[in-house]
C-alpha cells in the first residue's frame, strides 16, 4: 500500500503546462537568434565560460543595448558551456514568484532530458512556498552534469521576492547548478558576500564596452572599412556602447560618407542615444516610420495586427526588411511575430503620444479586437483596458469563460489584476459578472454577492436571451456564492448546477476544453451547498466527485480545497482515518506545488484539527487550528469559520474554561444568517449546549438545542445528553431510540447513542446493560480511535472501566482508549515519543525531506536528524518507512 495521501491518480508525473506549445512562450525559453552582423568577442566568451565553468553565479550587467543578451546567446550557441543550458528571457509579467518559478522549472525541463523527481509547477502565480524551492534545490544535487540556467532581462523582475528565492536556491543548490543572470541593474542578491566567498564572476558595463578593434570588426560586418581615426572617434564618443555603434553603422551606410557622419556625430553636443535614434528613425521611409509608430502600443508585433493598426497591407514585407537591415527589429524565432528593441520602443511610444495623442486609445481598441479574434484573450483584455473599453474587455472575459474561471485561482491572476482598475460605474451584466468573480477570488463574498445581484438584474431585463456563456458564468458564480446569503440551499444548488450543466452542453466543446476549471467549480459549488445544508453523505460524494474532476494544472487549487472539505465532512461524521487520509492528500498537493497559505484552503487543516481533537490530542488540535487560521477561507467561508470557532471553543472547554469557550464562539453570527444553510447553525447550537452542560445548566442546554431546525440524529443525541445529566433517563432513552432510527446515522452518532445508553443504565442501576452498551461503544469507536466522547463522558465511565472485580469491559477492549498519542499507554513496548519527535515523524509520513521538515517546524536540519535518530531508536527501526508503519501500528500516528 502506498503511504497515506500520496500517489494519487492525476497527481503523478503529468506536469506539462497548459501553455507549452504556444510558440510565443516557446520563444521566451529559446536562445535568441544571432544577428547577421554579430561580433564574437573572445575575451568575454572566455570570461563567461570561466564563470559558468566554476562558480555558482555569473553576473552580466550593463545598460540597455550593451550586448548582454548577444554575449550570453553567442556563448550558449558556441558549444562552450559546461553542460546543457536552460534559457529564460524575462519580461515584466514574470515578477510574480509563481510565474517566474514555473518558467524556471519549464526551462530546466526543456534543457534536461530527465528532470529530477519531485519538481512540480508552482500552484499560484502570486507566490511560492519554501517547499518548492527546497525540492528544486534538492533536485539539483542529483544532476549528473553541470546545468547552466540563464536568466536574461532580470531587471524586469520587480520586487524582492524572486531575488529572495534565487538567494535561497544559490545557498542550497548542488554544485552543478550554474546561474547566469543578465540585467541592467545589479540584482537584489548579497553580491558583496558572494564576491568575498569567490562565488561570483562579474562581467560589467565597462567589460562589455567595445574596444576599437571590436568596433572595426563590427563596421566591417556592415561592409564599412573606415580608417583607424574614425573607428577610434566612434568608440570614444559612444564609450563603446554596442547599440550605439550599430546605429552608427546603419547611419554611415545610409549616408555613404562615414567620415562626414563621424565628424558631425562626434562634434554634436546632443546625447548619444538621442542623436543616433533620431538619425536612424528619421532615415526610415515615411510609411515604415508610421508602421513603427502605430505598432509601438504593442509589446510584440504580428504582421496582420500591424496591418490592422496601419490600415495598409504591406506590414509583413516592411517588418521582414527592417528585421533584415536593422538592429532594432528582431524576429521572435519560430513565429511570425517580431519585437522592437527597447531603446526604440520607448522613443516610438513617446513620439506617438506627442504626434497623435488621440490615436493611442483607438489603436489599443483595434489591437484588442484583433488579439481577441486570434485567441489571445488575456492580451486582448489588457489592450481593451488600456483603451478604457471595459465593456468590451469584460464581455470578452465572460464570453471566453475566463471570468467563470477566475475563482479557480492560479492562472487567471493576470486577468484579475487587469480588472482591479475597472471603475465600478461600467454598466451591464458582463462587467458585474467579472467584478463578482474577482471579489470571490479575493474571498470578499459579500462584495461578490452584491455584484451578482446586479448582474442578475441586467440579465433579467435583457432581450433577447443572453448567450449561454453569460448565463453559465452567472449560474456558476451564483452556485459558488449565493447573492441571497452565501450558500444556496441544497435543492436550489442542485437546480442551478443542473442548469449550468445544461448550459455547458450548449457551448462549443472546444471552448470548454480550454477552461478545465468550469466543471470542477460547478461540482464544488454543489458540494458546498450539501455541506452547508448538513447533508454530509451527499457532500462527501460531491466533494470526491469534484476532486476527481480536477485533472489539469489549472484546477489543482480546487482539488486541494475539495479534498480538504471532503476530509472535514468525514471528520464531522467521525470517519477519522479516511478524513486524515484525504486531508493529508490535500496538503500534499499544496506542498508539492509550493502553494503559500494565502492561496491555501483551511479545510484540510480543520479536518486534521478535528481528527486530532476527537482522538484526544489537544496539542495537535491547537497547532492545526493555527495553521487553518493562516488560510483566508477559514474566516471567509461560513462553514469553515463555524468549525474553526467551535473547535477552539471545545478545546477551551476541555481545560475547564467556560468563559473562554463562550468567547471563542463570539465571532459567529448569533442567529443563523438567512440562507446560510442549517449546518453551521446546528453545529453552533450543539456547541452552546455542550458548554451549558459542562457548567451543569441542563435547562440552558435544552433551550440552546430547541433553536435548531433539528433533523438529523446529532441534536437528538445532544438533547438526550442534557436530559440524562438532569437525571431524566426515561426521556433520554426515548430520544435515543428516536435518534437511532434516523436514516443518516454517522459513526460518531452511534458512539454517542451507545455511550448515553450506558450512562442512563448506570443511573437507573442496570450495570449489566451499561457494561454491554459501553463495550459496544468501544468497539464502534475503536477502528477510528474516536476517543473524545469517552474522555468527555464524565466520571461514571471511569468507574465502569476500572471496576475492581474485572466486571467491566475486557481491558483489551479499552486499551486503545488510554494509549496516548505519545505512546505512553503502551508501556514496555516503546519509549514515549516527545511531541517534537512526533512532529518530525508526521513530516516523514508526508514524504517530506529533512530540509523541508526543518523549514516547516522552524528547526535546523541537524536537529531534525537528531529527532529522527531518536525516533528510530525508540521505535526499534532503521528506515523512514518502517518508522511510519510501526508508529501507525502503535497508534502514535
Amino acid at each position: 500500500m502506498p503511504p497515506t495521501g500520496l500517489l494519487l491518480p492525476g497527481d503523478g508525473h503529468r506536469t506539462r503546462l497548459a501553455w507549452s506549445g504556444d510558440p510565443l512562450l516557446d520563444a521566451k525559453l529559446s536562445v535568441p537568434v544571432a544577428l547577421r552582423t554579430h561580433v564574437p568577442r573572445k575575451r568575454l566568451l572566455d570570461r563567461l565560460g570561466e564563470g559558468a565553468g566554476s562558480g555558482p553565479l555569473t553576473l552580466l550587467t550593463g545598460p540597455a543595448g550593451s550586448g548582454k543578451t548577444s554575449l550570453a546567446a553567442s556563448w550558449t550557441r558556441s558549444g562552450a558551456p559546461p553542460g546543457p543550458v536552460a534559457w529564460l528571457t524575462l519580461d515584466a509579467h514574470d515578477s510574480a514568484p509563481g510565474v517566474f518559478w514555473s518558467y524556471v522549472v519549464e526551462a530546466l525541463r526543456r534543457a534536461l532530458p530527465r528532470l529530477p523527481e519531485g519538481i512540480r509547477m508552482p500552484g499560484c502565480p502570486g507566490s511560492v512556498g519554501a517547499s518548492l524551492l527546497t525540492r528544486l534545490a534538492a533536485a539539483t544535487e542529483q544532476l549528473p552534469e553541470p546545468v547552466v540556467l540563464v536568466l536574461d532581462g532580470f531587471e524586469k523582475v520587480a520586487g524582492r521576492r524572486v531575488p529572495a528565492g534565487l538567494e535561497f536556491l544559490l545557498a542550497h543548490a548542488g554544485p552543478r547548478l550554474r546561474l547566469v543572470v543578465a540585467g541592467r541593474a545589479d540584482p537584489l542578491l548579497p553580491l558583496h558576500r558572494y564576491r568575498a566567498e569567490d562565488r561570483l564572476t562579474e562581467i560589467r558595463g565597462a567589460d562589455l564596452a567595445f574596444t576599437p578593434h571590436e568596433t572595426a570588426v563590427l563596421l566591417r560586418r556592415h561592409d564599412l572599412t573606415p580608417g583607424d581615426d574614425v573607428v577610434r572617434a566612434l568608440t570614444q564618443h559612444t564609450e563603446g556602447w554596442a547599440a550605439g555603434l550599430r546605429l552608427c553603422a546603419l547611419a554611415m551606410r545610409r549616408t555613404g560618407d562615414p567620415a562626414g557622419f563621424t565628424r558631425s556625430f562626434t562634434t554634436s553636443e546632443q546625447a548619444v542615444s538621442d542623436y543616433l535614434l533620431t538619425e536612424v528613425l528619421d532615415a526610415q521611409p515615411a510609411a515604415d516610420r508610421e508602421l513603427l509608430l502605430r505598432t509601438s502600443v504593442l509589446d510584440r508585433i504580428h504582421p496582420d495586427l500591424a496591418n490592422v493598426l496601419t490600415g495598409r497591407r504591406d506590414a509583413e514585407a516592411v517588418l521582414a526588411r527592417l528585421a533584415r537591415e536593422n538592429a532594432f527589429v528582431e524576429p521572435v524565432p519560430g513565429t511570425a511575430w517580431c519585437r522592437v528593441h527597447p531603446l526604440f520602443a520607448q522613443v516610438l511610444r513617446t513620439r506617438l503620444r506627442m504626434r497623435h495623442p488621440g490615436l493611442v486609445p483607438r489603436l489599443h481598441a483595434r489591437a484588442a479586437h484583433w488579439l481577441a479574434d486570434a485567441g489571445h484573450t488575456t492580451e486582448a483584455i489588457e489592450h481593451a483596458a488600456e483603451a478604457g473599453n471595459w465593456s468590451y474587455g469584460a464581455s470578452e472575459a465572460v464570453h471566453r469563460l475566463l471570468a467563470a474561471a477566475i475563482p479557480a485561482g492560479p492562472r487567471t491572476d493576470r486577468i484579475e489584476q487587469t480588472f482591479t482598475s475597472m471603475p465600478g460605474t461600467v454598466p451591464g451584466a458582463e462587467p458585474a459578472l467579472v467584478a463578482a468573480a474577482c471579489r470571490l477570488a479575493q474571498h470578499d463574498r459579500a462584495g461578490c454577492g452584491r455584484h451578482l445581484a446586479e448582474a442578475g438584474e441586467h440579465l433579467r431585463l435583457r432581450e433577447p436571451e443572453p448567450e449561454p456563456a453569460v448565463l453559465l458564468t452567472h449560474a456558476l458564480l451564483r452556485l459558488l456564492c449565493d447573492p441571497h446569503g452565501d450558500v444556496p440551499s441544497p435543492e436550489t444548488a442542485a437546480e442551478w448546477a443542473a442548469a449550468a450543466a445544461e448550459l455547458m452542453r450548449k457551448l462549443p466543446a472546444e471552448r470548454l476544453r480550454e477552461r478545465p476549471e468550469i466543471e470542477p467549480l460547478r461540482l464544488q459549488g454543489l458540494a458546498r451547498a450539501y455541506l452547508a445544508g448538513g447533508r454530509l453523505a451527499e457532500a462527501r460524494r460531491a466533494f470526491a466527485e469534484a476532486a476527481d474532476a480536477c485533472t489539469a494544472d489549472e484546477t489543482l487549487l480546487i482539488r486541494h480545497a475539495c479534498l480538504g472539505a471532503l476530509a472535514l465532512a468525514e471528520s464531522a461524521e467521525g470517519v477519522l482515518a479516511s478524513a486524515e487520509d484525504h486531508a493529508l492528500r490535500s496538503l500534499t498537493i499544496a506542498d508539492q506545488h509550493g502553494v503559500v497559505p494565502d492561496h491555501r484552503s483551511g479545510a484540510g487543516y480543520l479536518a486534521l484539527a478535528t481528527v486530532a481533537f476527537e482522538q484526544g490530542d489537544d496539542e495537535a488540535t491547537g497547532r492545526r487550528l493555527d495553521e487553518a487560521a493562516a488560510c483566508p477561507d477559514t474566516a471567509a467561508d461560513l462553514v469553515l469559520s463555524t468549525e474553526s470557532c467551535i473547535l477552539r471553543s471545545r478545546l477551551e472547554l476541555t481545560r475547564g474554561r467556560w468563559e473562554a469557550a463562550l468567547t471563542a464562539l463570539t465571532p459567529l453570527p448569533h442567529h443563523k444568517p438567512a440562507g446560510a444553510g442549517p449546518w453551521p447553525g446546528r453545529r453552533l447550537a450543539l456547541a452552546r449546549a455542550g458548554i451549558a452542560l459542562a457548567r451543569g445548566d441542563h435547562q440552558a442546554a435544552v433551550t440552546a438545542l430547541h433553536d435548531t431546525d433539528g433533523d438529523g440524529p446529532a441534536p437528538l443525541v445532544a438533547l438526550a445528553r442534557a436530559h440524562t445529566a438532569a437525571g431524566r433517563t426515561g426521556r433520554a432513552r426515548r430520544l435515543l431510540a428516536h435518534a437511532s432510527r434516523s436514516a443518516e446515522l454517522g459513526l460518531a452518532d452511534h458512539v454517542g447513542i451507545q455511550l448515553l445508553g450506558a450512562h442512563a443504565a448506570v443511573l437507573d442501576g442496570h450495570p449489566e446493560t451499561a457494561r454491554r452498551l459501553l463495550g459496544q461503544a468501544l468497539d464502534t469507536a475503536r477502528p477510528e480511535r474516536l476517543r473524545r466522547p469517552f474522555v468527555d463522558a464524565g466520571p461514571w465511565l471511569r468507574h465502569l472501566l476500572n471496576e475492581p472485580d474485572g466486571a467491566g469491559p475486557a481491558p483489551s477492549a479499552s486499551a486503545w482508549l488510554t494509549a496516548r498519542a505519545d505512546g505512553a499507554g503502551v508501556p514496555g513496548v516503546v519509549q514515549p515519543l516527545s511531541s517534537r519527535e512526533r512532529d518530525v515523524l508526521v513530516g516523514v509520513q508526508r514524504m517530506m525531506s529533512a530540509d523541508e521538515i526543518a523549514a516547516e517546524l522552524n528547526l535546523s536540519v541537524n536537529t531534525v536528524k537528531t529527532h529522527l535518530k531518536s525516533v528510530y531508536r525508540k521505535l526499534c527501526v532503521t528506515r523512514r518507512r518502517d518508522a511510519v508503519e510501526r508508529a501507525k501500528a502503535l497508534h502514535i500516528l
Binding site: A243, E269, Q270, A271, D274, T278, L343, Q346, V347, T350
Partner: protein
C-alpha cells in the same frame, strides 16, 4: 519632493517628451531635468526611463523645497 537630474548631452524635444512630468533646461554639454517627484517609486521609475532611452544620468540631487 523636487529633484534635479543632469543628463549627458543635449536632448531633443522628442526625448524630453518622454518625461512630461519634468521640465528641462539646456546646460553646457548637459541637459537638466527637474520637477516634482511623487515618491521613491516614481524616482526609480524615472531613472529606469532614462536608462530605457539610453540617456546617462551624471548627477542627481534633491532640490530644496
Amino acid at each position: 519632493m523636487r529633484y534635479e537630474f543632469r543628463v549627458t548631452g543635449s536632448v531633443s524635444r522628442l526625448l524630453e517628451e518622454a518625461f512630461p512630468e519634468l521640465r528641462t533646461e539646456p546646460a553646457p554639454r548637459q541637459t537638466l531635468f527637474f520637477g516634482t517627484v511623487m515618491d521613491e517609486a516614481h524616482l526609480y521609475g524615472l531613472l529606469a526611463r532614462f536608462q530605457d532611452l539610453g540617456l546617462r544620468v551624471e548627477e542627481m540631487r534633491r532640490l530644496p523645497e
